[in-house]
Amino acid sequence: MAVAREFSKHRKAATTAAKAPPTRGDGKAAAVFLLPWFIGLVLIVVGPLLASLYLSFTSYDLFGDPKFIGLENYTRLFQDPRLAKSLQVTFTYVFVSVPLQLAVALGLAMVLDRGVRGLSFYRSVFYLPSLLGASVAIAILWRQLFGTDGVLNQAIEWFNGIQPLIQIGTHGWVSDPEYALGTLMVLNVWTFGSPMVIFLAGLRQIPEMYYEAASLDGASKFRQFTSITFPMLTPVVFFNLVLQVINAFQTFTQAFIVSGGTGGPVDSTLFYTLYLYLQGFANFNMGYASAMAWLLVLIIGAMTALNFFASRYWVFHDD
């Protein structure tokens, strides 16, 4: 304890010293070092961002010059049945797969937190899908696994064959509009690694003494979870929720590859971003695609704001 107190005193002294009034030249040095990043920001992010804002008020087919048409693209957004369909697909995906993914991540994090032998090995193995999940190779593999002749259907047939009681139907898991979106949700849940690692770090922060006190008072494991673990973990849950919701809204690669770039079968995997891409690069409606992009910005912004607002009622802050 004494050491820590001494350390924090020194740290405090060091930070105060650094806050000495800036001398001339400091700002310029910072500016120079920031310049490469700043140029990148302007050319690669802000420039195109503003350009797309302008294009969203135009009719632009990539070949001719953009024609200013006012709010027409935005009014069209509300009359487009495929846009409504893509919103339905995307919202379903976000509301179902994100909570599921976080639940799986938290569950596994808690198992690993019990001090399993070879923890770092398991952590790496479980993290792996997070790195691979959005890759083209995995999406292609997924297509194979869930095809009509795929591994899943073969496993189901084998299972149906060895016992007569439970008979499961085989389906074209990616080619049947009833199941295609569900298959993509499973793919998303499978990439639970990155929220899991964050949960694991969060679990490590909860002081052991709370559990000791609870055990002495005779609290069950379940009670310990609802009264200690989850409340203490809510800031981390919140953080993961915000990140994963934003990520899920931007899902593109998996749907693009699994549906062969169409959002099919029958628009059942027509994610918002995929429809945006098709409007821009297949239909050459770049103005409309830009308006769609800005609508997505608004939607994600609104969802994040809603998340922050709701967090007041369920996120527990220790300090």
Binding site: T148, S175, L278, F281
Partner: protein, 448 residues
């Protein structure tokens, strides 16, 4: 401790700022010069001094890349004042091209399909071939093939291959299951239906008769022409035929599925949309399929089977309604050297030394002198294609179908979407036809 360092560091940084500022000024000036140079080149196109560089873009597999680059070397030597730079890709060609067009940076000479020709041509992205006709000799290409993709009477591309839809028959599978060869002499759609419906049972459920045809927009166009709509599927404002025509086409596919003539929806749909080797016929799950005839080589390679090409069926004693479709070369409007690009194009499509290198890898050449030149080297499949095309040319109607209007670029995925909905029994063929027509008309009116 930090103070002694400060003055020196700050001085260096101040100099740094000056250097950065100066160099960005230089960069800006250079960029301006670049633009000025471009402008100057524009004025000089009539008489370029040194060799001009022509950027040539295509998609394909490894073999095509090597052959085409070798061919371009021959053209460089032949033309003298031209150098070429190759931009090839095996996938993502359309996206890249669209982006390059948007940036005003499209290559000079591009390999295109019928779909590109209409959608780029209508939007002013391609050079009217008539403006460079002194430099391109199209006399060895038959008029039907040459004008197949014309838009409002203008040709925006020169065909390099000739292709058409035909019925592929897997002869190896047919013999393996002891099936009789279908009688394709003047056969009708009903004949095909009847034959296809018997295959599933005859093969003990191993294969289906015909790959599901209802997602094929080109076949729908031919179907419409066979029913007397010589302009094909499209008019200037969208769909040019009654919904009943489309409905009858979709119903054919739906009935075929119900009679086990083609696979159930989820199997069929899983095999659509990928490359030819992923299709029902490419995976030996269907005995026959309506496909572009040039795929016969790839199909033979993918399945290890022997294939035969059958002519398309017709409606009761009707027209063949056939149309050609090709791969072509086109010159982009962004090109600063359309004349040189035209010369390179001409060399690629007609030079016999080039023909020796390229052979028929892209398909049966459209240039008949080239076909004569390489005839001895044609594989049996390519020979079959040549015979097929000769019959099509003999019987095809004079008039080419109307090009799809702007906004109809998406007709193909759109038809596929409604066809899939129908194959899963979620809507009737009549509903699918009506909704398809309404959406396509809307898309065309939005674009206009």
């Amino acid at each position: 401790m930090r103070n002694p360092m400060r003055p020196r560091g700050a001085g260096r940084l101040r100099r740094g700022v000056t250097v950065v500022a100066a160099s960005s000024a230089v960069l800006l000036t250079l960029a301006a010069c670049g633009q000025a140079e471009n402008l100057a080149q524009d004025e000089e196109t009539a008489a370029p001094a040194g060799p001009v560089e022509i950027r040539v873009a295509w998609w394909g597999a490894e073999g095509r890349h090597e052959q085409t680059q070798a061919a371009l070397k021959v053209c460089e030597a032949d033309l003298g004042n031209v150098t070429t730079s190759a931009e090839f890709t095996s996938q993502g060609y359309d996206d890249r091209l669209a982006t390059q067009f948007a940036a005003g940076d499209a290559p000079d000479l591009i390999q295109v399909t019928s779909g590109h020709v209409t959608s780029y041509g209508q939007r002013g992205g391609l050079v009217d071939i008539a403006t460079v006709k002194e430099d391109i000799d199209t006399s060895a290409i038959s008029p039907g093939v040459l004008n197949q993709d014309s838009v409002d009477g203008k040709n925006y591309a020169v065909p390099i291959t000739v292709n058409a839809s035909g019925v592929m028959l897997n002869v190896t599978l047919m013999e393996q299951y002891g099936l009789e060869r279908p009688d394709d002499e003047n056969w009708t759609w009903d004949d095909l239906f009847e034959y296809a419906s018997g295959v599933y049972e005859a093969s003990d459920g191993a294969i289906w008769g015909l790959q599901q045809p209802s997602e094929d927009i080109r076949l729908l166009g031919i179907w419409a022409r066979q029913l007397g709509h010589s302009d094909g599927l499209f008019s200037e404002t969208g769909v040019g035929v009654d919904p009943e025509v489309i409905s009858s086409f979709l119903e054919y596919g739906s009935d075929l599925q119900d009679s086990e003539g083609s696979a159930p929806a989820s199997v069929s749909i899983e095999h659509q949309g990928g490359g030819v080797e992923q299709t029902m016929i490419g995976t030996s799950k269907a005995l026959m399929a309506v496909r572009p005839i040039n795929e016969i080589t790839a199909l033979a390679a993918a399945t290890g089977s022997e294939f035969e090409l059958l002519q398309l069926p017709v409606h009761e004693a009707g027209e063949t309604g056939q149309t050609f479709r090709s791969m072509s070369w086109a010159i982009t409007s962004d090109s600063e050297h359309p004349v040189e690009a035209a010369r390179v194009l001409n060399c690629l499509q007609s030079n016999l030394e080039v023909a020796d290198i390229l052979q028929a890898e892209r398909g049966l050449p459209a240039n008949q002198e080239v076909v004569e030149h390489i005839r001895a080297n044609l594989s049996p499949e390519q020979q079959m294609m040549a015979d097929f095309v000769a019959i099509v040319e003999e019987n095809a109607p004079e008039a080419a179908p109307l090009a799809p209007p702007p906004g109809a670029d998406t007709a193909e995925p759109m038809l596929r979407r409604y066809a899939e909905d129908m194959l899963f029994d979620r809507i009737s063929p009549a509903e699918a036809a009506e909704q398809f027509t309404a959406e396509l008309d809307q898309s065309v009116s939005d674009a206009g």
